[in-house]
């Protein structure tokens, strides 16, 4: 019972890190990016290749995955994404689905279609059990504990940057109303490029962390696209607490649903999402007064 909750929290944290970049870009530029999973896949593949073929230690791979995805993200933002912001949503959906298709086929071409296996370092394998003799047994995989720790640190860091730094207040101003923000002298384009880079970088980091838990193969961007979008749609785009809550909810519901009713699998998650979206179409957390 508690083990399930623990796994769900780990899963949810991972989804949050993967999706948070998407939330910010969607809130900032009102851009529906279905190719976000491709950055996560890139991070995952960078880690696998560095670890398996070049023997780079796991902890060094994580920042490298972040940097690689961020670099590719900023490159694509400058060249391809920029002309898309003003286009209608249908164009954005088509464009980003096209990018995701290309990413899937390229990964297939360069890496092969098989599932990549990740060799974790020894200190991350194994499992600790708490309250072993009581009904509330809590089994914690060390790797999941590691994921929770990393993601929690990142979340606190992000929250700090957003709420207490100058860049954070610029970002929030741009999300609320890009026109007014640029009128106040904030260079929205630069803010956006930086955010896009960090967002893709975080997705890459999430992909690297999640390669072992979620599985990594070329269909990753399409398989998890739905989950990222659920986090964004349910959580709303105006803060990061909303997506965090949505991601945790999704993670717990998914793990519990798959454990208790294995045949219905993802049914619970989708039903929950539709119910929430009919109830609150703009997401769970909407700040009043912001421009939607």
């Amino acid at each position: 019972m508690l083990t399930l909750l623990f796994d769900g929290v780990a899963y949810g944290m991972l989804l949050f890190i993967l999706a948070v970049g998407l939330c910010v870009t969607m809130g900032l530029m009102n851009f529906i990016n279905l190719a976000h999973g491709a950055f996560a896949m890139l991070g995952g593949y960078v880690t696998v290749v560095l670890m398996q073929r070049h023997g780079v230690p796991f902890l060094v791979c994580l920042p490298l995955a972040f940097l690689a995805s961020a670099a590719v993200g900023v490159l694509l933002e400058r060249t391809l994404y920029r002309p898309m912001y003003k286009k209608p949503h249908l164009d954005q959906v088509l464009f980003s689905i096209g990018l995701a298709f290309m990413a899937v086929a390229s990964a297939d071409y360069f890496m092969g279609s098989q599932q990549q296996i990740m060799q974790l370092p020894d200190w991350l394998r194994g499992r600790t059990e708490l309250f072993a003799d009581t009904p509330f047994v809590l089994g914690m995989g060390h790797y999941r504990l590691f994921i929770i720790a990393v993601c929690a640190a990142l979340t606190i860091g992000l929250q700090y940057v957003l709420s207490a730094t100058r860049f954070g207040s610029r970002l929030r101003a741009s999300v609320d109303d890009a026109r007014a923000a640029s009128g106040l002298g904030i260079n929205v384009n630069v803010v956006f490029a930086a955010t896009f880079a960090v967002g893709s970088g975080l997705a890459g980091l999430g992909g690297a962390l999640g390669a072992e838990v979620l599985g990594l193969d070329p269909t990753f961007p399409l398989k998890f696209m739905v989950y990222f979008l659920i986090v964004v749609a349910v959580g709303g785009t105006s803060s990061i607490t909303g997506p965090l809550l949505a991601a945790l909810l999704l993670g717990i519901a998914d793990v519990a649903g798959k454990y208790y009713i294995p045949k219905l699998g993802a049914f619970i998650v989708y039903a929950l999402m539709i119910a929430i979206l009919i109830w609150r179409p703009q997401g769970l957390y909407v700040r009043q007064g912001g421009k939607s």
Binding site: M26, I32, L80, P83, M84, K87, P88, H89, L90, D91, V93, L94, F95, I97, G98, L99, A100, F101, M102, A103, V104, A105, S106, D108, Y109, L222, V226, L229, I230, V232, A233, K263, L264, G265, A266, F267, Y270, A271, M273, I274, L277, I278, P281, Q282, S292
Partner: protein, 325 residues
């Protein structure tokens, strides 16, 4: 030319349209060896026309239109297997089932932004996929629903292996429903739909009942998609889980965009172009054809889909873009 005659003029049947349909109906006979692919094209064209009503005329971005296709397919297949093998009855059953589902689902697309709609429609299709997978004793689960044997069409024409009967059957259904859709979009109802697409707030302000119109168009489109699904199940004698898959919804959206949204022939033209393109690319690189499809999409959007496909229609979308901002 006064306003009334000019409005009527755009709604009138052009001579080119007659030529087009004559060619379409002649095709299974002229290209008898390609009758199966003609049948397939007619079915996806019907599906694309259905999405065009929702996406092109009303502006609802839906990534889950396959829900209705799949629902129609399974209803028709189950009806043929367990109750009665007559194709037309099965078609009616598939259509009415999908229409009902559409009426229920139209509640979910009333509110929210494009993203919310995208997610809700996608979620609906995924839920149906999960359900079809779960109730495997009824639907056959991942193996698909097999052993659907259709009776002869109108009690006379057997479905043959060559697919000529199927092709004519699908073309006839496509034609009937196309005429219906064409009538619908040229009627005052269609004009209000376009008004809702261009600017929902203003449409509401001049007294168009937006919610009711959305329900109507979504239900009708669901019924047409259900007909496409029923045709698919009947002419292949098979229904599998992949009718609900997201690829279907994405493919049909792509077809519509290739042909041009907000134009009923766009769905048909797109279906023809898509199927031919798919055949060509899949012959060259069977494994990596998604890459070229993706590249095509990206280039298409970057260049501007109006300019690439219908240079003579660019002004209608520029008006929409002005309204949407």
């Amino acid at each position: 030319m006064n306003a009334q005659t000019s409005l009527l003029h755009t709604a009138r049947w052009q001579s080119l349209e007659f030529v087009f349909w004559a060619l379409a109906f002649a095709s299974p006979w002229v290209l008898a060896q390609h009758a199966l692919i003609i049948n397939e094209i007619a079915i996806v064209a019907l599906f694309a026309v259905s999405l065009d009503l929702v996406l092109g005329y009303t502006g609802i971005v839906s990534l889950g239109h396959a829900a209705f296709l799949g629902f129609g397919a399974y209803s028709a297949a189950l009806f043929a297997k367990h109750i009665h093998p007559d194709p037309l009855l099965g078609l009616a059953v598939g259509m009415s089932a999908a229409t009902l589902l559409g009426a229920v689902c139209s509640l979910s697309i009333m509110r929210g932004s494009d993203l919310t709609r995208l997610m809700v429609t996608l979620g609906t299709a995924l839920i149906l996929l999960e359900l079809a997978n779960k109730f495997s004793d009824l639907t056959g689960g991942a193996d698909g629903l097999q052993g659907v044997i259709m009776g002869p069409l109108l009690g006379r024409f057997e479905f043959d292996l060559m697919g000529q009967t199927s092709a004519w059957y699908s073309l006839a259904v496509l034609w009937v429903l196309f005429v219906l859709a064409r009538r619908l979009v040229h009627a005052p109802l269609g004009a209000t739909l376009k008004a809702i697409r261009d600017n929902r707030l203003r449409a509401m302000a001049i007294g168009i009942p937006v919610t009711a119109r959305l329900v109507v168009v979504y239900t009708v489109a669901a019924g047409i998609a259900g007909a496409a699904g029923a045709l698919m199940a009947q002419t292949t004698g098979f229904a599998s889980l992949d009718v609900f898959a997201m690829d279907r919804s994405a493919d049909v959206m792509l077809m519509l965009v290739i042909g041009g949204v907000g134009w009923l022939y766009g769905g048909i033209a797109g279906a023809v172009a898509f199927k031919l393109m798919y055949d060509v690319i899949a012959n060259i690189t069977p494994q990596y054809w998604t890459f070229w499809m993706g590249l095509f999409l990206v280039v298409l959007v970057l260049v501007g889909r109006e300019r690439l496909i219908r240079p003579w229609h660019w002004f209608s979308t520029s008006a929409r873009r002005g309204g949407a901002s």
